[in-house]
Amino acid sequence: MITAISYKSKQINFKEKAFKKTLALSAIIVVVILLAIFFTLLINSLPSLKAIGLKFFYQTTWDPVSDQFGALPFLVGTLLTSFLALVISTPFSIAVAIFLGEYYKKGPVAEIFKNIVDLLAGIPSVIYGFWGLFVLVPLVRELEMKLHVAPYGVGIFTSSVILAIMILPFSVSLSRQVISMVPSHLKEAAYSLGATRHEVITKIIIPYTKSGLFAGLLLALGRALGETMAVTMLIGNTHDLPTGIFSPGNTMASVIANEFTEATGRIYTSALIEMGLFLFVVATIINVIGKQIIKRFTLE
């Protein structure tokens, strides 16, 4: 009898340990996957790192035939589209965040707008690109005719507009979260002194949430840097250095998307992977900093 019980308890003990081990092991797997991603990118971009070195970042010719891989045009394209998208979307995203975080926190109006923002986040990148190609491109072309610049239609500006729409839901959800965390006693104190809502928002809420809002913008920027499909469809895919916001260009992600399957030669593939490594490192740094700021803000 006693042996039976102890046998059973041993069995349970074993299962208990196995269960806890499995849990811990699976947690280790995620960390290992992440490290493996980094090292896979690094090792595969070594040939290009060795052959091209720093020229990768300042040379402007990208010519796979003569083995010249200068990624400056794509770097400029990536930064230009992302920052322009951020500039376009920020006023709107902050407005929507204030709308949902302060004016309409609950009720049917809030529900409708929340659902719209969620849906906006749910539309796939490729559909944004498709829509942009058939609706936005003709509009931009008309605008370019009026401004007397070459009417490509596709280009940096068009991609930035689509990117701005795509990152809006992301920064809205972060900013709204931050705005809703402003302690109510601060707001109430201001109201009791006779402040209007406008004054409470500009003098209490925004200064209080400054760091959180900044983190939201940073994370949205990280999102924009790596966005691929819509940009690939709308940016024009030229290998020249962009001359202005209306000129066609290319981003790192779209170059990878366009050329990776066709790349022949070790250095060509490796140069494309090096761009992937760059995107990975930048996105990771932005993400970690942004998340840290938000975490610190939440703890306060």
């Binding site: 299962k15 208990e16 269960f19 806890k20 849990l23 811990a24 947690a27 280790i28 797997i29 995620v30 960390v31 996957i33 992440l34 991603i37 896979t40 990118l41 407005a95 929507v96 204030i98 709308f99 707008f113 923002v117 849906l119 906006l120 749910g122 539309i123 796939p124 990148s125 490729v126 559909i127 944004y128 690109g129 498709f130 829509w131 190609l133 058939f134 609706v135 809006l168 209007t196 809502r197 406008h198 004054e199 928002i201 994370l219 990280g222 999102r223 790596g226 966005e227 691929t228 469809m233 992600a253 990878i256 998307a257 399957t261 992977i273 992937g276 990771t284 993400n287 970690v288 998340k291």
Partner: protein
């Protein structure tokens, strides 16, 4: 006499002050109203793109959408009609396989993170999940190309599934963790106090209680990756024919939208609009299902 005059003066002074205050308040009120108007206008403008996009896709896609469209292969260039059955089947198969890979791993890691709130491994794991979530999807494509496609010697639906699974993982982990964290400690303690072993407490008490939250997270993560194109470009690759072999290239809805949208042919654009509409409807339905699950099976404490 003088007293009266002084009182009069005082009165006048007060009056003008209050008038000044009135004016000041009026200005502040106007500013307040103007500001609200600005916010509301900007918010309404922000929602316009969604309405435009949905409207346009429905307008273009509704004509293409019928039974024929869902059950036939795409026609070659020059022949109008045809369907996207290969992409529909491909999308569903790729997603099913990625669910099989990602859901168990994601839930197990989520359980670990909700249990180990302060351990060092938990901290690094959480950090890794955050970073994983932020990796551009095109980079995931490169990684899976190096990990799966190259060793296997060619593009395959399986590699596409692995790529999508990698993209689903962070959101499944996060939703599981968040759901289980919200369950009261007393629930676990009650079960343990009855002598139920730890693993049974987790599997039979904690996980079932949080099931609706976990399921919602899983459905939303499917909705998020169903339209992912970039990681499939160098993995599943696409296939103009019907294929159900997961070791061979396979088509999927986002891939044919990309290929047909960027082609110069009108018939193919029509197919792409139809496919976009199918994709958006699938995403809408998944979102609605997640809301229903959330509402129906909600466990409250």
């Amino acid at each position: 006499m003088e007293m009266v005059l002084e009182a009069e003066l005082e009165k006048k002074k007060k009056l003008s002050q209050s008038r000044l205050a009135d004016k000041h308040i009026g200005r502040r009120n106007k500013k307040n109203i103007f500001f609200k108007g600005l916010i509301v206008t900007a918010t309404v403008i922000s929602t316009l793109p969604l309405l435009f996009i949905l409207f346009y896709i429905f307008k273009q896609g509704v004509g293409a959408l019928n039974w024929h469209f869902l059950t036939h292969l795409p026609n070659p260039v020059g022949e109008p009609g045809g369907g996207v059955s290969n992409a529909l089947v491909g999308s569903i198969m790729i997603l099913l396989v990625s669910c099989v890979i990602a859901i168990p791993i994601g839930i197990v890691i989520g359980i670990y993170l909700s249990e180990e709130k302060r351990s060092r491994l938990g901290y690094y794991c959480r950090l890794a999940v955050d970073v994983l979530q932020g990796i551009p999807s095109i980079v995931i494509g490169i990684i899976i190309y190096e990990w799966v496609v190259r060793p296997m010697g060619g593009f395959s639906a399986l590699s596409g599934s692995v790529a999508l699974a990698l993209m689903m993982l962070p959101s499944i982990i996060k939703s599981t963790e968040e759901t289980l964290k919200l369950l009261p400690e007393s629930l676990k303690e009650a079960s343990l106090a009855l002598g139920v072993p730890y693993y049974k407490t987790i599997m039979k008490v904690i996980v079932p209680t949080g099931l609706s939250g976990i399921l919602t997270g899983v459905i939303l993560s499917i909705a998020r990756v169903i339209g992912e194109t970039a990681p499939l470009l160098f993995t599943a690759f696409g296939n103009p024919f019907m294929s159900t072999n997961i070791l061979k290239p396979m088509s999927s809805l986002p891939l044919i939208i990309f290929n047909y949208a960027t082609s110069p042919y009108n018939d193919w654009h029509q197919l792409a609009w139809g496919a976009s509409m199918v994709l958006i409807l699938m995403i809408l339905i998944l979102n609605i299902i997640s809301k229903i699950v959330q509402r129906k099976w909600k466990v409250q404490f």
